[in-house]
């Protein structure tokens, strides 16, 4: 397993760094090697005044900021036990070499203060390069919002995202949403949550069986499949209007919608006309559905988000389900996996990798231990992402391509977990009810 992880790091980290857009190069030259995480110190923010109302807000703020930076995939956070007992809250309280020298040896220092006054919460935060003694400040930010715990959490996500953008070159996932299916009300409904599992909220109230939620690239609509009136149909929920909006009813069973990354097309699986499941493509309005495949058990399409010119999907046309790829007009079908039970392809934002769920050696009597794998599409090299038991399915990439959210039974019931794309920083995000089929927003 360790060996796998090492191979993984060797293969995968350079891919991410070389193929992220040019503007995603590190903008800060710190003297560390490319790809090695920055060592960062994040002392708790200091209370700016003696207001008792500070306490619940600053506690949530500090926890959220730590979680975001620790799981960003860019930094190694030095444990708080190494920090001085008097932590700095303002620039004038900083002694840089305390943070740059052993035992802390941090390249980056994040610090600041929080205070409630007049019903508002005020936050000041800084990012310092500890080795730049002359101009250490990389970032200085100030926030003011109504003094609620939710706002304290939100400010922490926003500030963390500024740091990630500054040091990692592209926005992080800290202000994104994850949509998923939960049965905690007794029905399978669409729910949403923040990337760290906080702020879980019910989106639909249909009382039926909703499956396969897919957020539109502009965050305005959620497409999903629902069993209602004895028929599976693609349904559409507007997050702008907070209600269902119309989408055409088709014949047969209609499953697993997928958006093109420009938001103009929807691909889905349908048995309309043929009586067996095939991949269809239609306008985002549902107009003009057109069949692309003739495989009989074709499902789970996903666009190449970089080009929208290719679609990966699952087909059982030769027996056990395998991952296939085709051009978006249905031509040039290629089989990508050659054995086992391979489902749920998820195309990485940079278009280079497929994450999927795979039981390499599947058959009757073999316990269904599906794990997540990553395939480099060009070379078809495959690395294993999860190893820790249970059935792992429905990977979905964060917009920065550094994280994967997925469904796993490793805790006994299906729950939503997230993991860095190098297999580290595994986090359980849901615990109530059975939670499945996560889908990460595009931004």
């Amino acid at each position: 397993m360790n060996k796998n992880r090492i191979y993984f790091v060797l293969l995968f980290i350079p891919l991410v760094l070389f193929f992220t857009p040019a503007h995603a190069q590190d903008q800060i030259k710190t003297g560390t090697n490319i790809g090695a995480p920055l060592v960062m110190a994040v002392p708790d923010f200091k209370q700016a005044n003696t207001e008792p109302a500070n306490q619940p807000l600053i506690s949530v703020f500090n926890d959220t900021l730590w979680y975001d930076l620790n799981n960003a995939g860019l930094f190694t956070l030095v444990a708080k036990s190494f920090y001085p007992s008097q932590v700095p809250g303002f620039p004038k309280e900083i002694t840089l070499n305390t943070w740059s020298n052993p035992p802390i040896s941090a390249a980056m220092l994040v610090f600041g203060n929080l205070g409630v006054a007049g019903g508002k919460v005020n936050v000041q935060g800084w990012l310092y390069d500890t080795k730049n003694t002359q101009y250490p400040q990389i970032l200085g930010k100030q926030y003011q919002e109504n003094a609620t715990v939710e706002n304290a959490r939100h400010i922490a996500h926003e500030f963390a995202n500024e740091i990630i953008l500054k040091l990692g070159g592209i926005p992080g996932p800290t202000e994104t949403k994850i949509y998923f299916i939960s049965n905690r009300t007794g029905h399978k409904e669409v729910w949403s949550m923040d990337w760290d599992g906080a702020n879980q909220q019910q989106v639909t109230h249909l009382g039926g069986i909703a499956l396969s939620p897919r957020i539109s690239p502009d965050n305005s609509r959620i497409a999903f499949s629902e069993l209602a009136s004895n028929s599976w149909q693609i349904r559409m929920y507007s997050l702008d209007l907070n209600r269902m909006v119309s989408f055409p009813r088709y014949g047969g069973g209609n499953y697993s919608p997928a958006w093109s990354s420009d938001g103009t097309k929807i691909a889905f699986s349908s048995s309309m006309g043929t009586g067996s499941s095939e991949i269809f493509i239609a306008d985002a309005t549902g107009a003009g559905p057109r069949r692309l495949t003739t495989g009989k058990t074709d499902v789970s399409p996903v666009f190449n988000p970089r080009t929208n010119a290719q679609i990966a999907f699952v087909s059982g046309r030769t027996g056990l389900p395998q991952i296939y790829m085709m051009d978006a007009d249905g031509s040039n079908v290629q089989r990508m996996t050659d054995q086992g039970y391979a489902v749920s392809p998820a195309w990485s934002p940079n278009g280079l990798l497929l994450a999927f769920s795979w039981v390499r050696h599947y058959g009757p009597g073999i316990p269904g231990g599906a794990d997540l794998y990553l395939m480099d599409i060009a070379s078809r090299q495959i690395v294993q992402l999860t190893h820790d038991g249970g059935r792992n399915d429905f990977p979905s990439w964060s917009p920065d391509g550094r994280h994967i959210v997925f469904e796993s039974t490793r805790s006994g019931t299906p729950q939503i977990w997230s993991v860095l794309a190098d297999g580290t920083h595994l986090q359980q995000l849901t615990r109530v009810g059975r939670n499945t089929q996560p889908n990460w927003s595009y931004r």
């Binding site: 069986i209 069973g253 499953y255």
Partner: protein, 243 residues
Amino acid sequence: MKNKHWALILAMLTILIVVSGCKKKQPPPPPPPPPKAPTATLSAEPTSIQPGQSATLTWSTENADDVALDGNKVNTSGSETVSPKETTTYHLTAKGPAGSTDATAQVTVSQPPPPPTPTPTPAPQLTDEQMFAQAAQDVYFDFDSANLRPDAVQTVANIAQAMKSHPNWKVQIEGNCDDRGSTEYNLALGERRAGSARQQLIQDGVSQDALKTISYGKEKPVCTDQNEACWQKNRRDHFTLLK
């Protein structure tokens, strides 16, 4: 000499006495034998009658001089015709010098069978649902397969038969999967399983207009244990009569 004569007489007398004393004695007259215990039997022929019919009681006794049937003195053996209105047990009491005994016999009076009804009650009418349920058993599939097994083909033939004699029936075929597979792929697999039964029904002469298919994937399991017996129960087509 005279002495010898006496001696002889004495000897002869002695012999005489001895001999007569040894003669077998006459046995005493035997005592009169003790009186024997009485016996009694009583039987009825026939033992079961209907009201208005009669039965014959027959009895015999031994060693009895006072015999009574239900308290009425009768001969020590004989017979009598009875015609009870209801089931009756007859008692025969036989008394003799050595005691008494009794015997019983029962004549059962059965109610007459109900007169044959003029029109026999018709067999209860089966509803369409009941008739459908008799024919439309679930059919089961192998792992990851949508092919009908031979037993499933037979079941589907039975369903086709029933559907052809009820042209108004509309049937929904519901494909289901076990819960090991992936949610979305299972919907497609269930679709195929429903399609297999649909194809066979059409081959067996059912109109395709009478058929609707739906896949429930793994959303509607009948069993949630994690073992093959349970998984097999879930890999099925279920048939529902649509109203």
